[in-house]
Amino acid sequence: MKASALFLILSFSLTAFAGEVVHTAGESETTAAATLAALRAYYQVTIPDVKGDAFVDGALNFNAGARQYNDFWEKRFKDDFDQPDEYRQAFADGKTLWDKPFSDGKSFSDCFPDGGRGAAAGYPKVDNHGAVVTFERALNLCLEMHHEQPLAYDNMKTIGALSLYARRLSDGARIHIEVKTKAEEAAFNRGKMLYYTRLGQLGMSCASCHIQQAGKTLRSEELSPVIGQEAHFPVFRPNRETAQLSVVTLQVRFQGCQKNVKVAQPFALNSAELNDLEYFHTYLSNGLPLHSGAFRK
C-alpha cells in the first residue's frame, strides 16, 4: 500500500518536472549572457519598435488604448487629491512596517547597506548553500535574524506592502544580477529550465507566450516580452468588477500564469522552483530601472 502511494506521488512529481521543452529563442544557449543576447536579438526582429528602457512598459508598447488606461491610473497615483485609497494605504502600511523597530531596537534599514536604498536592484541573490534568496525572502531573513516572526508570502497587506515600500527605496536603480559562480549558474539554469517547460493542462510554457509570441494578442490582451517584466513589481491590479486595487507580488503573478494554463497545483510562494524562476527572470531585466508600484490591468 505504502509503496503504491509512493509510486503515485513519484509519478505525479515526475510528470510535473519531466515536461516537454519549447525550443524557442534563448533555449539552446548555454550561458546566462548568451541567453540574454539571443533574446535581445530575437525581440529586435519580432518587436523591433521596443528598445532600451521601453521594455519596462511591457505590453503597453503594443496597444495605445492600454497605454492610455495605464497613464490614467498612473496620473491618479501621483495626484494628491485623486490618489486611490488602496495605493496610499499600501505605501503607508509598507512604511510603518519598514520603520517599526524590532524588539532589539534595530529595524529593516539595519539589514541592508545604505539603509536599503538601491538594495532591491541586486536581488535575487544566491546564498552559500546554492539557494536563491529573493528580496522578499531577504526581508523575512532580516526579521528572523532579529528574532521577529517572518511574514506570510501570500499576505499582500504585509509582505506585499513592505516589498512595495522597500523596493521604492531603490526607485530608478538599475537591476544588476550577476551569474558568475557555479552555484549562480546552476540556479540560473534551473530557473531557465522551468521557464521553457510546458506546464498545466494547456501544456504551455512561460516562453511560449512571453518569448515565442511576445507582442501578439491573446484573448484581447497583448503579451509582454520577458525582458522588463520584473522591473515594476509589486504592481497594483484592479479587480475586474469593482476596480478595487490590490498589490500583486511577482511570485503571486507567476501563480496567476500557472492557473491560466490550468496547472492543478501551482508552485508555492518562496518555493525553490519559483525562487529559481525569479532569479532567471530578473537576470533578463538586467540594466533596466526599478519602479515598484506600477499600475497593470
Binding site: 516537454e20 519549447v22 525550443h23 524557442t24 493542462q201 494547456l202 501544456g203 504551455m204 511560449s208 507566450c209 515565442q212 509570441q213 501578439k216 494578442t217 491573446l218 484573448r219 484581447s220 490550468k262
Partner: protein
C-alpha cells in the same frame, strides 16, 4: 470600435455566465468554440468574416476552412494534438490533455468548417 467594445463586454459576460454552467458533457458548438474553459478558440484565432470575433492573432485566422481542410481529419488532428506536427507550437493539445473529449472536438471541427 464601439461595436467591438460592446462585443468584447458581451463576450466577457457570456463567458463568465458560462463558466459556472459548463458541463463536462457540453455539446453546444458555440459554447465549445468560445468558452475559456473549453475550446477558447477565439483567444488566439480570429474569424476574418466576422470582425466582432477578434480577440487574438496568435494562430492562423479561420477563413476558407473548407478549401484549406478538404480532409476533416487533418483539422481534428490539429485540435487533438498539434505538437505531433509542430513540436514547439503554443497550441494546447486539447485531446491528449483531455481539455476536450473526442466527441467535443468533432463538434468544434464541424463548427469551424463553416468559416
Amino acid at each position: 470600435m464601439r461595436k467591438l467594445a460592446m462585443a468584447m463586454v458581451l463576450g466577457v459576460m457570456l463567458t463568465q455566465a458560462h463558466a459556472d454552467t459548463v458541463q463536462p458533457t457540453e455539446m453546444n458548438p458555440r459554447i465549445l468554440f468560445e468558452n475559456n474553459n473549453l475550446g477558447n478558440c477565439l483567444a488566439c484565432h480570429t474569424v476574418l468574416n466576422h470582425p466582432e470575433m477578434t480577440a487574438g492573432n496568435i494562430g492562423p485566422p479561420f477563413i476558407a476552412m473548407k478549401e484549406r481542410f478538404p480532409d476533416k481529419e487533418k483539422l481534428r488532428e490539429i485540435i487533438y494534438d498539434e505538437q505531433l506536427n509542430n513540436p514547439d507550437t503554443i497550441m494546447p493539445p486539447f485531446g491528449r490533455n483531455k481539455v476536450l473529449t473526442k466527441e467535443q472536438i468533432d463538434v468544434i471541427v464541424d463548427y469551424i468548417l463553416q468559416f
